[in-house]
């Protein structure tokens, strides 16, 4: 998985129980020891690092060792050529995991950024948020269900269309 933050591209490859992170000519092993509400306990190349990370649209606030950095995620050059396509309001699981909570029902009105459901994966909570104001047209999963990557979770219809 490649992510570009500010002007630096970083590549994360799962290697079993940990990840290989590559940035330029540097490569390190990263293990997630624990996560909790925006706090990541990491083992990076044998060094224990606690990072606090918050997301706000494309902004990423990261604090390590008391220094806070504000990064901007670039919605990069990658084209969705590979992988299944979904309609604009269809949300798919970003990675395999388990549905921990479903906060909405079919027919509910939702607002942009509202947390629709929570997945748990790799000891992390993934909040599935509504991309726009709209209505829940279809729920494809139930609480407790295990989902695969790219599996459809929920369909949101924009308010204008409904």
């Amino acid at each position: 998985m490649k992510i570009t933050l500010d002007n630096t591209a970083i590549d994360l490859t799962p290697t079993g129980k940990s990840y290989r992170a590559t940035m330029g000519d540097k490569t390190v092993d990263v293990e997630i020891l624990g996560t909790q509400d925006g706090k990541l306990d990491l083992l990076i190349d044998g060094e224990r690092i606690t990072a606090y990370v918050s997301s706000e649209n494309a902004k990423r606030w990261v604090t390590i060792h008391g220094r806070t950095v504000l990064l901007t995620k670039r919605s990069g050059s990658r084209k969705s050529g590979q992988g299944p396509h979904h309609a604009a309001g269809e949300l798919a699981a970003p990675m395999p995991g388990q549905v921990r909570a479903v906060n909405v029902s079919e027919g509910d009105t939702v607002t942009k950024g509202q947390t629709l459901m929570v997945l748990e994966a790799m000891k992390m909570e993934i909040r599935i948020q509504s991309p726009s104001d709209g209505t829940v047209n279809k729920l494809f999963v139930k609480q407790g269900q295990t989902v695969e990557r790219e599996q459809m979770l929920i369909e949101i219809v924009d308010r204008l269309e409904s």
């Binding site: 998985m1 992510i3 933050l5 630096t8 970083i10 994360l12 799962p14 079993g16 990840y19 992170a21 940035m23 390190v28 990263v30 997630i32 925006g38 990541l40 990491l42 990076i44 690092i49 990072a51 606090y52 990370v53 918050s54 997301s55 706000e56 990423r60 606030w61 990261v62 604090t63 390590i64 060792h65 008391g66 220094r67 806070t68 504000l70 990064l71 995620k73 969705s80 590979q82 992988g83 979904h86 970003p94 990675m95 395999p96 995991g97 947390t115 629709l116 994966a121 790799m122 000891k123 992390m124 909570e125 993934i126 909040r127 599935i128 948020q129 991309p131 295990t146 990557r149 790219e150």
Partner: protein
């Protein structure tokens, strides 16, 4: 003793006062504006009363509404905190007229110290040193003569002035005519009043203030000094006590002058005498008196062992302040850092937003006075101070170390803060040497974080931190929804999803 106190303020100071009320068994009434309905201070109180729109003028500065709220809630007294109406003599008088107790000095004391020119005259009369200067000058010859008597550099100031308008530093007699003309023009333009006064200019001045405390029975003492020279835009950001510049002898002299100054206006309750201190010859001059509780009162509390807010309430209720000057001592060293939502790299402009994360440091000797929680919104309506971080340790060196460690554990996301900037100041040699004057930030750190990279972290370490930061941000990105991840690990033999047992253990 009072049964119920209305706190005519908001944020951290309102909570600080409510804690004292609670400890004394007094009910605390909060007031809140539209913008503060969900604020921590309104939630912390025993009761909360809505007082109007977000704009301070229509809420926290609205004396009538505040007094009415106190009467409606059947409070016996009003604590004004700092800022807002705390130094407004008419408000103090109006509180008295409403048969409520104003927790602070008398309206007369506030009035006497409120006018800068008049208070200076009163201080001179009381024998308190004031900055050498001359007022009521007209012809250029008079200015020239006075400037020569005082000695250069001198400061030319608008009599009606404030905010640096019509203010000029004159280093040399040759520049005097031109600077007077231009200061006059500026003063006339800004205040409609071209009168100027001149004062001795103290180039590397420190700001050293003395806490005074008195009861309503004529007993008044000082509670030692606070060094508040680390300032940006004339606002304090780091305060400490004891001052690294004072000797026991100087401390005694200044303390006595502070007591004299306060007694000259029949002062009672908590107050602060601010001095300009010239480190080159250890001379000190009365600058002004703050007739209220100060933001930085915690450093005095930690080193004297007194709870100033509790005592404010007790003496307002008529109790005697029981300690004589000789019984009071300073112990250890305390430093306060003001955590502001502001961007040092961008002229210290306030930063607003939602606090995505807000984690305060903890540990022995660490105190945090704050009015925010995670999820709160920092608005542009009010002061951008998020919290005060105060540490207490045996001596100055260990206190600095403790502050550095505590700042490292302070996490704020969602608004830009001055935390990194404070770290840079604390790590600076000048600060360690106690050589920071009131203009130091302006002269040394003006571009905010520009000096950050030097000497704080070695280059290699910085790069490592950069890489770690990127890794953390990328990993956490999984938690952002609606993004089609390109991660492929279905065939991961170690996948926790393939483990039927509780993988989280």
């Amino acid at each position: 003793m009072f049964k119920k106190i209305l706190i005519a303020n908001r944020g951290e100071i309102a909570i600080r006062i409510m804690r004292a009320c609670r400890e004394l068994g007094i009910r605390a009434v909060a007031v809140y504006s539209d913008a503060d309905k969900h604020s921590a201070h309104a939630q912390f109180a025993d009761e909360a009363i809505h007082i109007g729109p977000a704009s301070p003028k229509e809420s926290y500065l609205n004396a009538d509404v505040l007094i009415r709220a106190a009467i409606t809630s059947q409070a016996d007294a009003i604590h004004p905190g700092y800022g807002f109406l705390s130094e407004n003599a008419s408000f103090a008088a109006a509180v008295d007229s409403a048969k409520l107790t104003f927790i602070g000095p008398s309206a007369d004391s506030i009035r006497a110290m409120g006018d800068k020119a008049e208070s200076k005259i009163a201080m001179k009369k009381a024998g308190v040193p004031t900055v050498p200067g001359k007022e009521g000058l007209e012809s250029f010859a008079e200015f020239e003569k006075a400037a020569n008597e005082i000695g250069y550099p001198i400061l030319v100031k608008a009599s009606a002035g404030g905010g640096g308008k019509g203010m000029r530093i004159v280093w040399d007699a040759n520049d005097l005519p031109e600077e007077i003309d231009s200061a006059r023009r500026e003063a006339l333009h800004a205040f409609g009043d071209e009168r100027l006064l001149i004062e001795k200019y103290i180039a590397d001045a420190h700001h050293i203030e003395f806490q005074v405390f008195g009861d309503k029975h004529g007993h008044l003492v000082h509670l030692f000094e606070r060094e508040c020279s680390v300032q940006r835009r004339h606002q304090k950001i780091i305060e400490e006590t004891p001052s690294p510049l004072l000797t026991p002898k100087l401390r005694k002299q200044m303390g006595e002058a502070a007591v004299k100054a306060a007694k000259a206006v029949n002062y009672y309750n908590a107050g602060t005498i601010e001095f300009i201190f010239n480190p080159s010859d250890s001379s000190f001059y009365f600058l002004e008196m703050n007739t209220r509780l100060q933001v930085e009162h915690p450093v005095t509390e930690l080193t004297t062992g007194l709870d100033l807010v509790q005592w404010q309430i007790r003496v307002a209720a008529g109790e005697h302040f029981p300690y004589q000057q000789g019984q009071l001592t300073q112990r250890g060293h305390a430093i306060e850092c003001r955590i502001y939502a502001e961007d040092p790299a961008n002229g210290f402009l306030p930063s607003t937003g939602v606090l995505l994360q807000y984690i305060e440091p903890r540990g022995p000797g660490i105190r945090v006075d704050s009015g925010f929680r995670a999820g709160d919104t920092v608005t542009h309506f009010y002061d951008p101070m998020l919290a005060k971080l105060i540490v207490y340790a045996e001596n100055r060196g260990t206190a600095i170390q403790k502050m550095q460690a505590a700042l490292r554990d302070f996490v704020v996301h969602g608004v830009v803060t001055n935390i990194d900037f404070l770290q840079d100041v604390l790590a600076h040699e000048n600060f360690k040497d106690g050589k920071v004057s009131t203009r130091w930030v302006e002269m040394n750190m003006e571009s905010g974080g520009s000096s950050r990279s030097q000497g704080v972290l070695p280059k290699e370490r910085q790069q490592a931190v950069g890489f770690h930061t990127l890794i953390a941000a990328a990993l956490a990105d999984f938690t952002i929804a609606n993004r089609k991840s390109e991660i492929i690990n279905e065939h991961d033999p170690y996948s926790p999803w393939k483990n039927p047992n509780g993988f989280r253990n």
